[in-house]
């Protein structure tokens, strides 16, 4: 599913998600342990993933590379719970929600 150099991230394929809505939902449905494990595996590879992906034009990413980018979007999404919030939900956000109804296609 991912480029071979990133085989270490294959166990986290469930984080390859098409939309921000999907990524945010998975974040809310995940425990801190699950997100921490994903973050610990993916974060050290973020720079390398960016370098690898930048060899391709964004509009013509091969499927495995596109999966890798979607996985990194999920990393961005869990970075808040892991790096600052220590919980999946945004603190002080109660029942408030905000839907991303338009996002750039990749």
């Amino acid at each position: 599913m991912l480029p071979s150099e990133f085989a270490a991230l294959e166990p986290f394929n469930a984080w390859v998600l098409e939309s921000e809505r999907d990524r945010y939902s998975k974040r809310l449905a995940s425990s801190m342990e699950e997100m921490q494990t994903f973050y610990d595996a993916a974060f050290p590879l973020l720079e390398q993933a960016s370098d690898h992906l930048d060899k391709f034009p964004l509009s013509e990413l091969p499927e495995q590379e596109r999966n890798l980018l979607l996985l990194m979007f999920s990393l961005v999404n869990v970075s808040f719970p892991v790096e600052v919030w220590k919980q999946a939900r945004v603190p002080d956000s109660g029942a408030a929600y905000m839907d991303l109804v338009v996002e750039p296609k990749v």
């Binding site: 921000e20 945010y24 974060f43 973020l46 720079e47 993933a49 960016s50 992906l53 930048d54 391709f56 034009p57 964004l58 990413l61 590379e65 980018l69 990194m72 979007f73 990393l75 961005v76 999404n77 970075s79 808040f80 790096e83 600052v84 919030w85 945004v90 603190p91 002080d92 956000s93 109660g94 029942a95 408030a96 929600y97 905000m98 839907d99 991303l100 109804v101 338009v102 996002e103 750039p104 990749v106």
Partner: protein, 421 residues
């Protein structure tokens, strides 16, 4: 001691003596009768930004806009002559909503050659002419020329599509005035990659403008978003704007931008350090024309520490331009005295590489984390205002734009009420 120079009048607020400095009454955000008055006096009279030209790129491209606050729905469409027009979204036959999909209340978009009513298949051209009546001969002296779609004033400024339900309204550019003139030439047209957020917020529309028209709350409400030492420092320093300006009914706040990039990399989250992006957007500007020599309306205080300018175009559009070359808009669409739809659009130069796209993703995700905190706080404010236990609220010098907003609304409502008597 202020960190930045204040006007000779002594404060930003006293620089506009008509605003006064006394506490402000927030009855305007809880009284249902006042809300009804706002609908008539403001939302049916002023220019409202409903989108951008990129949303109607070619002949036949259209989108609908629900305007509960003006008791209507509009269709915005690019006609055969490439002109953008706005129509009331209502079929002339029996008043059915003309353009919608499964759910009448939901906004839709698409491309078509003509509009066909779902009810009895009356058809309209992209220019709004009635072109086909099912079983036309069954009608009585029906002249199709008399039954075109109801046109709404629609004008474009720098790619922003505005409508006005008042046929007598002054031209858009005249209404937008000095601030718009000062922004002309900014490369909005290059920043076509958009993230659109929507939320229903349980507060009066003005309260969310209040939240985004001052940054006095930022070091407090959003404290946990910075690492602890930085949060403590921000809390102790507080917030001061570089510059405020009012050209009524519009206003603006100019602010510093120390996080883009930050002087000290240890103050930002690890992912921001790697991606070089965050709430203030990607730290490096995109490679396009038009960012070197900015229009004169930006950074009016000519400060070296400048980071962004936020314009409040009355009544319900915020346009926030960031120094590194991206911008966002907020719209607050009232649906009731204590409810509104909040819409935020983040606009970037389209990413060419995955790294650029990741930077934008981080900026967009970060925006949402902040906005959720803002939105939720407002529901708490609304309920307590409604209790009327406290009716007068002191506003500080950094809350100048709020004072101006509530006074401007009051002026519009009063003028309208007086004229009706």
């Amino acid at each position: 001691m202020p960190h930045f120079t204040k006007p000779e009048a002594g404060s930003w607020t006293e620089n506009y003596p008509e605003l006064g400095t006394s506490p402000v009454n927030y009855e305007d955000s809880i009284d249902p009768a006042y809300y009804e008055a706002e609908k008539e006096a403001i939302f049916k009279k002023t220019w409202l930004n409903v989108g951008r030209v990129e949303q109607v790129p070619k002949v036949g491209s259209y989108f609908t806009k629900e305007l509960a606050v003006a008791d209507t729905s509009l269709v915005i469409v690019r006609g055969k002559d490439k002109e953008i027009r706005a129509f009331h979204n209502v079929c002339r036959h029996r008043g059915n909503k003309l353009v919608w999909n499964d759910f009448p209340g939901e906004e839709v978009k698409g491309t078509c050659r003509q509009f066909t009513c779902k009810y009895h298949a009356w058809r309209y051209s992209l220019d709004g002419d009635l072109t086909f009546v099912q079983q036309e001969k069954e009608f009585f002296d029906l002249d199709k020329a008399d039954y075109g779609l109801k046109l709404v004033r629609c004008e474009v400024w720098e790619g922003f599509v505005f409508v006005n339900l008042d046929p007598e309204a002054q031209p858009l550019k005249e209404y937008l005035g000095e601030f718009a003139k000062g922004l002309e030439g900014y490369p909005f047209h290059e920043m076509t990659e958009v993230f659109t957020y929507k939320a229903e917020i349980g507060s009066n529309w003005k309260l969310f403008i209040d939240a985004f028209a001052e940054f006095y709350h930022a070091p407090v409400l959003h404290m946990k978003q910075a690492v602890k030492d930085e949060a403590d420092k921000l809390f102790n320093v507080g917030y001061e704007a570089l510059h405020y300006e009012i050209h009524s009914p519009h206003s603006m706040i100019s602010s510093w931008g120390g996080m883009s990039p930050p002087k000290d990399l240890t103050i930002v989250k690890p992912i921001e350090r790697v991606l070089r992006s965050g709430l203030f957007g990607p730290w490096e500007a995109p490679d396009i024309e038009g960012l070197e020599n900015l229009p004169t309306g930006l950074n009016p205080g000519r400060h070296r520490a400048w980071g962004n300018d936020s314009f409040e175009f009355f009544p319900n559009m915020t346009l926030l331009i960031w120094k590194p070359g991206w911008y966002l808009t907020y719209h607050y669409w009232p649906t009731a005295v204590d409810k509104h739809i909040f819409e935020a659009n983040l606009y970037f130069v389209p990413a060419k590489t995955a790294r650029e796209r990741l930077k934008q993703e981080l900026a967009a995700v970060t925006f949402k984390e902040y906005a959720l905190q803002d939105g939720n706080t407002l529901e708490a404010t609304q309920t307590m205002l409604k209790s009327r236990v406290v009716t007068e609220f002191p506003l500080c010098d950094q809350e100048l734009l709020l004072r101006h907003l509530h006074k401007t609304v009051a002026d519009y409502v009063k003028e309208h009420t007086d004229a009706a008597q």
